[in-house]
């Protein structure tokens, strides 16, 4: 429906950089390169997954390009009831990043199952990652149970790390005991692989990772947003109505990469690497640090074609850095 034209390349930086050499190599890309990876027993054509909250329920992006080029997608964090989320302004700009305080706006699990997923199915034939959130262990389990019946949902991504809601979200992600409870409750009601999404706002992320691994998690995804803030010099008050919000974008990449690296040494379950990834090079770095798959978040907001462009550029970058099989570089920097 859209004459998508991706003139401007992928933004690694706030500045439009010169295109990388790799783009030129594109034509003669070696078809023997293998981008397939296996995440908790499910094969992905490539490791690229748009991150929850930055890709709606997917079908909106299908108006911009054929989203079947993606490995998978993780949809907007879903709760039991419909939620409006936080008051606006919910967005603030930062150097190489942004702050959001959406507060889990979503139509609720019924609408997701009855309206959003059918629309997504029409345009997307790949396995889906369902991102779920809750304000109590019961709520998490309830949503997991509901989604367990959805065939196209291959993984449950359990967001215990949303910094934008009180009394839920991140409280589960900063306390090992709570994280364990949520994980166990969900494992009890689903046979689908459970990937727990961890918060970076902790002293030691490996402690939480080990705890959820012990509780039966099949994988971990990290990182969610860091808590950040900006103040408006004109009003002299916080820009975000909710005072603080979740900080994401290229600025957080070195922190995310470090955490993926640390968690890789701490657990045996696969890791989905997230945080500031904006181009194919970043994907490779994440995988070398230990990620089996990689999510693209904020980059989709700045450049709606980011995920697609990253998929397209992946082969070029593999060629440039002499990588034949992506699977084989996972954890390669250790």
């Amino acid at each position: 429906m859209v004459n998508a034209k991706a003139d401007a390349g992928v933004y690694k930086n706030t500045k439009t950089r010169v295109k990388t050499d790799a783009v030129k190599l594109g034509k003669k890309t070696n078809s023997k390169l293998n981008t397939k990876v296996i995440l908790c027993g499910v094969q992905l054509d490539n490791p690229i997954i748009p991150a929850s909250g930055t890709f709606g329920y997917g079908y909106e992006f299908a108006e911009f390009y054929d989203i079947n080029c993606l490995g998978s997608l993780s949809f907007k964090g879903t709760t039991r009831e419909a939620r409006f989320g936080n008051p606006t302004p919910r967005i603030a700009e930062c150097e190489s990043g942004m702050i959001n305080a959406i507060g889990l706006q979503n139509p609720g699990i019924d609408a997701v199952i009855n309206a959003e997923l059918p629309k997504l199915r029409e345009v997307f034939s790949k396995p889906i990652m369902a991102n779920i959130s809750g304000f109590s262990v019961e709520e998490y389990a309830y949503i997991a149970e509901r989604l367990d019946e959805e065939e196209q949902v291959e993984w449950l991504e359990v967001n215990i790390s949303c910094p934008n809601v009180r009394g839920g979200g991140m409280v589960f992600g900063t306390d090992s005991k709570a994280a364990v409870k949520v994980t166990k409750a969900i494992k009890a009601v689903t046979t689908k692989p459970v990937i727990v999404k961890l918060s970076p706002n902790v002293t030691d992320i490996t402690e939480i990772a080990k705890a959820v691994e012990g509780a039966g998690a099949d994988g971990v995804s990290l990182i969610n947003t860091l808590i950040g803030m900006r103040i408006d010099l004109n009003t002299k008050q916080p820009i975000i109505a909710n005072t603080m919000g979740g900080f994401s974008g290229p600025a957080v990449f070195p922190i995310a990469l470090r955490m993926v690296y640390q968690v890789y040494e701490a657990v045996k379950i696969p890791i989905v690497g997230i945080g500031g990834v904006s181009r194919a090079e970043d994907v490779i770095e994440m995988m070398l640090a230990g990620a089996t798959a990689v999510q693209i978040g904020t980059a989709n907001l700045i450049n709606p074609f980011a995920s697609k462009e990253i998929v397209e550029n992946l082969l070029n970058i593999m060629e440039k850095y002499k990588i034949k099989d992506l699977k084989e570089i996972i954890g390669g920097a250790h």
Binding site: M1, T54, E60, F84, R90, A92, Q105, N303
Partner: protein
């Protein structure tokens, strides 16, 4: 409504000051899917988020925007020169629904809420009353352009240095209209909402993460549900507002 968004590169044809702080920029590029009341989202070197700016005028080859320097992004824009390029997302937002327009349309604009009304007045073939509110005479822009369309233009200034002294909304009671369109700062929109007796459409602003519906950064509550200013807006009809 079909969502048509494009990312493409525009070239600056001209970028001139209309007042101390308000600039007009004419851009050349793919304007094929730009509608009245929509906005574009502009990538600026050195800034992470794009800047949403309304379509002021558009023809087959060029897009005109009018923007005010309020921060560093718009300041940087004001220093750009002809020939430089900008990366735009175009075709964003719902735009005005002209099928709902009346016979005697009233357009009320305040400050940089005025630009989108220009193309609207054009679409209405100048057949409308346009109230343009400013703080003071030196801030006035586009009065002649609206007049050239044949519209009945009423200028208000808060300090009375030109036109009617007072707010744009102060003159509404004396105007004969059966539908209205309004764009401007929120307090003005609220006053328009309260003081108009007919139906109408109002254009809103919100801080945006994406501008095309992906982040839920710009949502507002309406009586018909949650709406994203960037997709289901920026134009909302009066009856759905929850003021």
């Amino acid at each position: 409504m079909l969502k048509i968004m494009k990312q493409s590169i525009f070239k600056i044809k001209e970028n001139i000051a209309l007042t101390d702080s308000i600039f007009k920029m004419v851009l050349l590029g793919d304007t094929s899917d730009l509608r009245t009341g929509q906005f574009v989202n502009i990538k600026l070197d050195g800034f992470f988020l794009r800047r949403p700016i309304s379509v002021c005028d558009v023809d087959k080859k060029s897009l005109t925007i009018i923007y005010k320097i309020v921060g560093e992004g718009t300041e940087q824009m004001s220093k750009m020169t002809a020939g430089e390029k900008l990366d735009l997302l175009t075709g964003l937002g719902n735009g005005y629904d002209l099928t709902l327009a009346g016979k005697k349309n009233l357009l009320v604009g305040g400050g940089v809420g005025i630009p989108p009304l220009y193309k609207l007045a054009k679409d209405l073939k100048g057949n409308c009353t346009v109230v343009l509110g400013f703080n003071t005479a030196t801030e006035i822009f586009y009065e002649d352009e609206f007049k050239a369309l044949g519209a009945n233009v009423i200028i208000t200034t808060i300090d009375g240095t030109k036109g009617v002294k007072g707010l744009a909304t102060d003159v509404l009671k004396d105007i004969d209209y059966d539908y209205f369109f309004a764009c401007g700062p929120e307090p003005m929109l609220k006053a328009v909402y309260e003081q108009t007796k007919t139906s109408g459409q109002l254009s809103f602003e919100e801080r945006m993460g994406c501008g095309f519906g992906a982040c839920m950064g710009c949502t507002c509550k309406t009586i018909t549900g949650y709406k994203r200013i960037c997709v289901e807006g920026p134009v909302l009809v009066k009856e759905e507002l929850v003021w």
